[in-house]
């Protein structure tokens, strides 16, 4: 059953009073002030509204990186589609990876409607001008990775995505609601694979622990370094609602107990709940590694971008003759 909130109409709701920032007779500064007041008061922005350049740029960058991440995130799991060991796992994994492609479509559509053509976004991704999330720069070495990614990487992502369901940019918020509903199935699939292996043969249990050992570092880096709330422009514009640290703490609170109940050992001796500060303490993530990886120097960054580049060339003839290329929105 779809969450009805995912399906609000694209036309502005009738309860909105006249937004001053859409008034062409006002000066830029007046429009900016009206827009900022609107957003800070919880008001929503649609694709057809006037926006200050700073807001439009910030939303586009945020959505584009998210779209890129869904697109690149397909690749680590895709090679295991051909190796799924049962009919049901084959169906589940294919559907999951298909969903990531679908999410890329939804997010690139949001970005396209902000004015940037899809092909231009692919150009920038392949040229390294725009980024994708750190976790998708790492190799997958076995079926255990498939389970671990579908469970914990998707879990960390959904913690972030749930916090975006009330974004000030309404098309993005609506997309997030649809994506969150679809992602919940992925986490169940991932957890099922992990639990099955964790209670399986000795080799399967060892493979799961090994996968956790390799993925824990990137997972802890995934939400980003701590940064003060006041300095975060994406928070200011209500594009997002929670800080990196809030997301990381939420992820730990939900998933550390679930990891431990399987008898798995989290490879961070410093990880512990501290009741005095009502938060998790943990070993400092390697922020240098994060920086290196997201600037496309991760273990799989170049090979995955190369793969996309080659594949894009191989299918170019279909777009140029049959499907067509989009004109700018």
């Amino acid at each position: 059953m779809t969450d009805p909130l995912a399906l609000d109409p694209i036309l502005a709701p009738l309860e909105r009073s006249r937004p001053a920032f859409n008034d062409d007779d006002l000066s830029h500064d007046e429009r900016f002030a009206a827009f900022e007041a609107h957003v800070l008061a919880g008001g929503k922005v649609e694709a057809t509204d006037w926006m200050p350049d700073e807001y439009r740029t910030a939303v586009l960058r945020f959505v584009e990186m998210h779209a890129n991440s869904e697109l690149m995130g397909v690749l680590p799991e895709r090679e295991w589609l051909m190796r799924a060991p049962t009919l049901r796992r084959k169906l589940a994994l294919t559907a999951k990876v298909q969903d990531e492609v679908g999410h890329a479509q939804l997010l690139y559509r949001v970005a396209e409607d902000l004015g940037k053509p899809r092909e231009a976004m692919f150009d920038d991704l392949l040229a390294g001008k725009t980024k994708f999330h750190n976790v998708f720069h790492y190799p997958t070495v076995g079926w255990a990775d498939v389970g671990m990614i579908a469970w914990l990487v998707d879990a960390a992502a959904i913690v972030a995505q749930q916090a975006l369901r009330d974004s000030s940019y309404a098309p993005y918020a609506r997309t997030m609601r649809k994506i969150c509903w679809e992602e919940s199935v992925h986490i169940m699939h991932g957890r099922d694979v992990v639990v099955t292996m964790a209670t399986g043969t000795a080799a399967q249990r060892a493979a799961i622990q090994d996968a956790l050992d390799r993925w824990w570092g990137p997972l802890m880096q995934m939400h980003g370094p701590r940064s003060p709330r006041e300095k975060d422009r994406d928070l200011h514009w209500r594009i997002k609602a929670k800080t990196s640290e809030e997301l990381r703490q939420e992820f730990l609170s939900i998933y550390v107990p679930r990891i431990r109940e399987l008898g798995l050992v989290i490879p961070d001796g410093a990880l512990a709940w501290d009741g005095a500060i009502d938060a998790w303490r943990y070993g400092e993530p390697d922020w240098d590694e994060l920086r290196t990886v997201v600037t496309n120097h991760g273990p799989m960054s170049q090979s995955r971008l190369d793969f996309r580049r080659v594949n894009r060339e191989e299918t170019r003839w279909v777009r140029e003759t049959i499907l067509g290329v989009a004109v700018a929105a």
Partner: protein, 108 residues
């Protein structure tokens, strides 16, 4: 079919979740023509059996009305809405005059 390359454009997709529900906007797909637009709409908004009906229409064919002067004109229109008819005090006066209590929700 001609030689000029087709143009991808956005098609809006409306969906009905179950029998009797209103059509609600779901999102949009890029497609070069109606036949593929319908396919892609089914994929993005119906592959999980989550819809019983879809409407697919070119974005350029959707007429957008959002002018506040037309939809939210400034003068009072409360006579068109239930909230424009507040009778509490008048009913209290009528009951006092007739000596009747406020009717119960159910008769008897």
């Amino acid at each position: 079919m001609t030689d000029t390359p087709p143009e991808l454009q956005p098609w809006e997709v409306f969906r009905q979740e179950k029998d009797g529900d209103p059509m609600r906007h779901g999102g949009s797909v890029m497609a070069p023509d109606a036949e593929l637009a319908v396919h892609y709409a089914r994929e993005l908004f119906g592959r999980r059996q989550e819809s019983v009906r879809l409407w697919v229409v070119r974005r350029v064919d959707v007429l957008d009305l959002s002018d506040p002067d037309l939809l939210q004109p400034p003068l009072d229109r409360s006579y068109k809405k239930p909230g424009g008819y507040v009778m509490r005090d008048k009913l209290a006066a009528a009951r006092a005059q007739s000596g009747q209590a406020k009717p119960k929700a159910r008769p008897g």
